[in-house]
Amino acid sequence: MLASVATEVVQPDDAELVQRLKSRDKRAMEDLLQLHGSKLYGVAMQITRNETDAQEVVQDALINIWNKIEYFEGRSAFTSWMYRVTANAALMKLRKNKKFAHDVPLDVGSDDRDLPQIQVPDTKAAPDRDLTRAELGDQVRAAIDGLEEPYRTTVLLADVEEMSMDEIAAAMEVTVPAVKSRLHRARLALRKALMPYLKDKV
């Protein structure tokens, strides 16, 4: 009984956490790490796909959260704001590693000859049975990971992390039309790759 009481963690809600961070309470940062660290790490891993980079990204994100908390005005959920800070830190890391060396044309035609290439095994053949949610998840993640940069990161930031076009443009240092073009191309390429799994669901 005592043991269970001793290990019980009282989880502060995010409003209280934000208040404590704004009061420069370092213990609040430790609580943040305990409550949200895995999600921050997950965002960092998803974008960098590299454990060492992801570890550095989480540390950079924590520094940015600590330094910029006074600018958080509560217009979005605190968790969304933290994830955006982390995604931005991950992008900085990718940029340092020169993952965004080339740009892409803005025009997208109605055919798919110019779509980004996706290397996904076995997506051409229609599945002979309904996939479980986990199996579908594996196929979707493989398709996204099969996208070349900058399409992969763009679709992750927009459709998974739900960052706005303006935020993505600022983070990736490109124009909003360029973000829209990349995102549209990425979605069309993913749609094509995932069609065997999607067509029976519409």
Partner: protein
């Protein structure tokens, strides 16, 4: 079967509208089209099953990516320890 053939020919008659769907798809799905264009495109989708399937699978791709790709990596305990020390000593 017959309905499918009818729909196919209806789509052939409306090729310019179908091309518009490809051109306007992104802004249509993002809700960025002016009302008049949005209404016109919605009307076309009611008449054109091929375009409707195209738009619906595009939307479903977005939804599926969102639902299936939420990060699920657990932070390694040694990294958590390292970051806790960093917070205590460096912030």
């Amino acid at each position: 079967m017959i309905q499918g053939v009818i729909n196919y020919f209806k789509c052939l008659l409306n090729l310019s509208d179908c091309k518009n769907v490809h051109k306007l798809l992104f802004d249509y799905v993002e809700g960025n089209l002016p009302v008049e264009k949005h209404t016109k495109l919605s009307a076309h989708l009611r008449d054109c099953p091929l375009c409707l399937e195209y738009v619906n699978t595009y939307k479903l791709t977005i939804q599926t990516c969102h639902d299936c790709c939420q990060p699920k990596d657990e932070m390694p305990p040694e990294l958590a320890d390292k970051l806790r020390t960093f917070i205590q000593k460096e912030l």
